[in-house]
Amino acid sequence: MFKKVYPYIPNSVPEIKEEMLKEIGVKGVEELYEEIPKKLRLKRKLNIPKPFPDEYSLKKHVMSILSKNKTCEENLNFLGGGCWQHYIPAVCKEIMGRSEVLTAYAGEQYSDHGKFQIFFEYQSELAALVGMEVASLPTYSWGMAAGLVIRMASRITGRKEVLVSKTVAPERLSVIRNLCQPAAMPSHIDIKLVEYDIKTGLFNFDDLRRKISSKTAAVYIENPSYLGFIETQGKEISDIAHVNGAEFIVGVDPISMGVLSAPSDYGADIVVGTAQPLGIAMQCGGGELGFIAHSAGEKYVVENPTLMVTITDTVEEREYGFAWAGFDFRTSYGVRNESGKIRSESKDFTGTTSCLFAVGAAVYMALMGPQGFKEIGETIVLKSHYAIELLSEIKGVKVIFGPNSFKEFVVNFDETGRNVKDINKTLLNYNIFGGKDISKEFPELGNSALYCVTEIHTKEDIERLVNVLKEVLSK
């Protein structure tokens, strides 16, 4: 047997440990643990699987497990619903893989000048993309971003109700519900869902007018919506919200921003979303980063609880410097005062989120530029509409909200007599991941699936899906 020394632990060499213990002035490591009472100790070795100490065996072991997964690379994937398959430019991977950004963490502006500049550029690019003045560093996910800004709106307006479009993604709504707290909590925000038009998906104005009041802190819609349709009445919703003194919050898919209106153009006060489509791998849903953007108005800036970097000058002429903006009074890092009491200004919690992905997204936006976003938006519109046209031609298959959609659309199978679960199981045999089954999430839409088509799908891919579906449904 080889002598055990750990490659990740330089001082695991017994002679070094002994030298150090001697310098410290103890006989053994046990003495260093004298503060932990015996009754709190685990009196046995941890019972965990036998390790693979050498790198080769470890890699082989992990790959043997990972190889049980099927990938969207080898299969034809039409799943979306908040995590989307887009092309990831090689440069994004290259920069995110640089060990400097990968392994940095708490270094401040002088240690990590470059990190602060990338953060500032991410904020600037993202704000420009969604048409706002300010964007902050990521929170965990889109749902988290939406919940946090609903709470921001509640603090800004002093009101305790929020109107949310009923077509919001169920997973996001669940995250929002937790952030708005149960009714028994004193700071609970009441979520009222606003109905939608079952034919178009659009916001139901009668219901909005019925539900909005002087208690409404905010109206939240998603555009394009979770179900893929484009909400065309942004301006009207915004007007009603503003007349009633409420904030208007819009959730967007940033990849649409080269072709769809910036939410500020139709009156949004705050914009949220996920930057995952901007160069971040899906990673089974691990590639998430929620964003928050708004005007530079102080009432928004000071209520935003996520981290922000400001540009500033240094003592050197013509040199940019960077600094945290409101780290100690705006974010949870400064939640307490000197006597341990809560600082009155303290907001929501933040922490280690997904900043490496912000680096990837910054690179993506720089690579794409304005024209890249326009072109990718157009490609997605054309390819998804091509799919809509072909799918609509299949007997018994109906595309809901099709004419007015971006990237995703609802495919209804009611008239085929087959349910989505079975269809998708069969599609798997053809190496196709069919659209997400939403029959339980939106029972009013019947036996339906949410399909996603992006720039990565070729004409042949779309036709293959259509042909396989025809074959499957005819059996």
Binding site: L58, C83, G114, H188, V363
Partner: protein, 528 residues
């Protein structure tokens, strides 16, 4: 005989890199995107016609326009101006456990079988990922003594928030939610132990330390009541001091019907030695990006692995991964669940890296990790306390575990050089600035290094030698310290002390900066 440490003649790269919006020319492209095929374009109308007129983007976003080589050079320059853990001896970032992140794990996480997988795929097609989640769950159960884990929280703060959400569900199920509205923490626990329960709607009371630096049992008992929902604490605390009476703390809270949460963001020094279960806790969390080696990624992605005892399991976020000895399954049907704290399953790539790291170490390796982390810390302490100006407040004569909160109060009194000055000066020697302390500073002029197991004896000696050098300078030439950094990628910023507090000094985007500059120039013109 002590070896003489030769300090390196370090200088950071200085690129004076422009903001990306200042580079490039209109029309340049960094990448091209796939175009819809000709047949599609022939068959369909223009893309624009599928978007109603009022919803078309009026003016394209003002993004940079650069060719690819210039984009790459820009970002390479900026990354060179960062001291990552791979580049520097990051003993500096105490409480963060800046350990080495094995490169092989990055390769594994980059495999298409991990990276190119969609979270809504049929569970038959993600059996590998579910297996890794399930197996790490079992390992975390053993390390903590808890009964079930979830990896949905995207970081430690979110795990603590998840715990607060579970408390709500637990008390709601008992009909006590309206009554139990108080959470208790200690001032030397992470500030998010205050902030997260507040987001969840609780009032939070922070216990101050007693004169010896320990949380005080009598103070705790005096605030425990039928209103107490829970205790959220770390141990050892940020000071590195282990509270040997932690079980009595837990008992006091249990006696009034509260639940106890162990914030184990940093478990490094006691892994395999003391567990949450033996101390009586009901729940705990581990930061997989700290103790379990996943890289910190310049502030994430992380994962707050959150574990609970059986009694709380039904409230965990959905889905839960189960195993029936043949197949792994995603269980959504949990009526008492709090629902979701984050979309999808969590940062699964982080889960994978933590699993791979543990599987390279084994039980003995985890214990070795804890032992060496504690040896390293005690060795560093020995070196640091021999340096003029440094003290170790509180718990005199008691050992610290994985980290120590030191004070430069004496240095400040003697020389006028404070901890922020020392911290900035460190960068001139190629060391990432150290972490002083969370605010408020209970220990004055604090410094909190954590020499975890990744650092060699020589690394520790170098780090201490830098502190020794700065202390020497403070006594002989304080100006050089106060005006530091001198060898960094940028110089001292103006308004360094006040900028964080004053929104009027901020420009949070390039656009906002240009606007501010224009207004500034206008004002100058008007004055003239």
């Amino acid at each position: 005989m002590k070896k003489e440490v030769n300090l390196r003649k370090y200088h950071a790269p200085v690129w004076n890199e422009p903001i990306i919006m200042e580079i490039g020319r209109k029309g340049q492209r960094g990448i091209l995107v796939p175009e819809a095929e000709e047949e599609i374009r022939k068959k369909l109308d223009d893309a624009e016609s599928y978007i109603s007129a009022n919803m078309r983007r009026r003016e394209l976003p003002k993004l940079p326009e650069l060719a690819q080589p210039q984009v790459v050079r820009h970002y390479i320059h900026l990354t060179q101006e960062i001291l990552g853990m791979d580049e520097t001896i990051d003993i500096s970032s105490g409480t963060c456990t800046m350990k080495y992140s094995p490169k092989v794990n990055e390769i594994l996480a980059g495999m298409p079988q991990m990276a190119d997988v969609h979270p809504f795929q049929d569970e038959d097609t993600i059996q590998g990922i579910l297996e890794i989640i399930y197996k790490l769950d079992l390992i975390c159960r053993e390390i903590s003594g808890m009964d079930y884990f979830t990896f949905q929280p995207g970081g430690g703060s979110q795990a603590i928030y998840t715990n607060a959400c579970l408390l709500r569900a637990y008390y709601e199920s008992k009909g006590e939610l309206a009554q139990r509205d108080e959470v208790i923490t200690t001032i030397f626990s992470h500030p998010v132990d205050t902030a997260s329960p507040r987001t969840a709607g609780f009032k939070v009371i922070s216990l101050m330390p007693n004169t010896k630096g320990y949380p005080d049992l009598d103070s705790l008992k005096s605030i425990c009541s039928e209103r107490t929902a829970g205790l959220f604490i770390t141990n050892p605390e940020d000071t590195g001091i282990f509270n040997p009476g932690v079980q009595e703390f837990v008992n006091a809270v249990h006696e009034v019907g509260g639940l106890c949460f162990y914030d184990q963001a940093n478990l490094n020094g006691i892994m395999g030695i003391a567990r949450a279960r033996e101390a009586g806790f009901d729940a705990c969390h581990f930061n997989l990006h700290k103790t379990f080696s996943s890289p910190h990624g310049s502030l994430g992605p992380g994962c707050g692995a959150y574990g609970v005892k059986e009694e709380l399991a039904k409230f965990l976020p959905v889905p839960v991964v189960t195993f029936n000895s043949e197949k792994y399954h995603l269980e959504y049907d949990k009526p008492s669940s709090i629902g979701k704290v984050r979309e999808f399953l969590g940062n699964i790539e982080v889960v994978l890296k933590a699993y791979a790291w543990i599987m390279s170490m084994g039980a003995e390796g985890l214990l070795e990790t804890a032992h060496v982390a504690v040896i390293n810390n005690n060795y560093l302490e020995k070196l640091l306390l021999a340096i003029p100006g440094i003290t170790k407040p509180y718990a005199e004569g008691k050992r610290r575990l994985d980290q120590v909160r030191y004070s430069f109060e004496k240095l400040k009194e003697d020389t006028g050089v404070g901890t922020i000055d020392v911290m900035n000066r460190m960068v001139d020697f190629g060391i990432v600035n150290y972490f002083p302390s969370h605010v408020p500073w209970i220990v004055s002029e604090p410094m909190t290094p954590e020499p975890c197991e990744s650092y060699s004896k020589e690394d520790i000696e170098y780090w201490a030698a830098v502190i020794r050098q700065v202390s020497k300078e403070a006594y002989s030439n304080p100006e050089i310290v106060k005006t530091a950094p001198h060898n960094s990628s940028s110089h001292k910023i103006i308004n360094a002390e006040t900028i964080d507090e004053h929104p009027q000094l901020w420009a949070l985007s390039w656009n906002a900066y240009l606007k501010k500059k224009r207004v500034g120039e206008e004002n100058v013109k008007i004055k003239k």
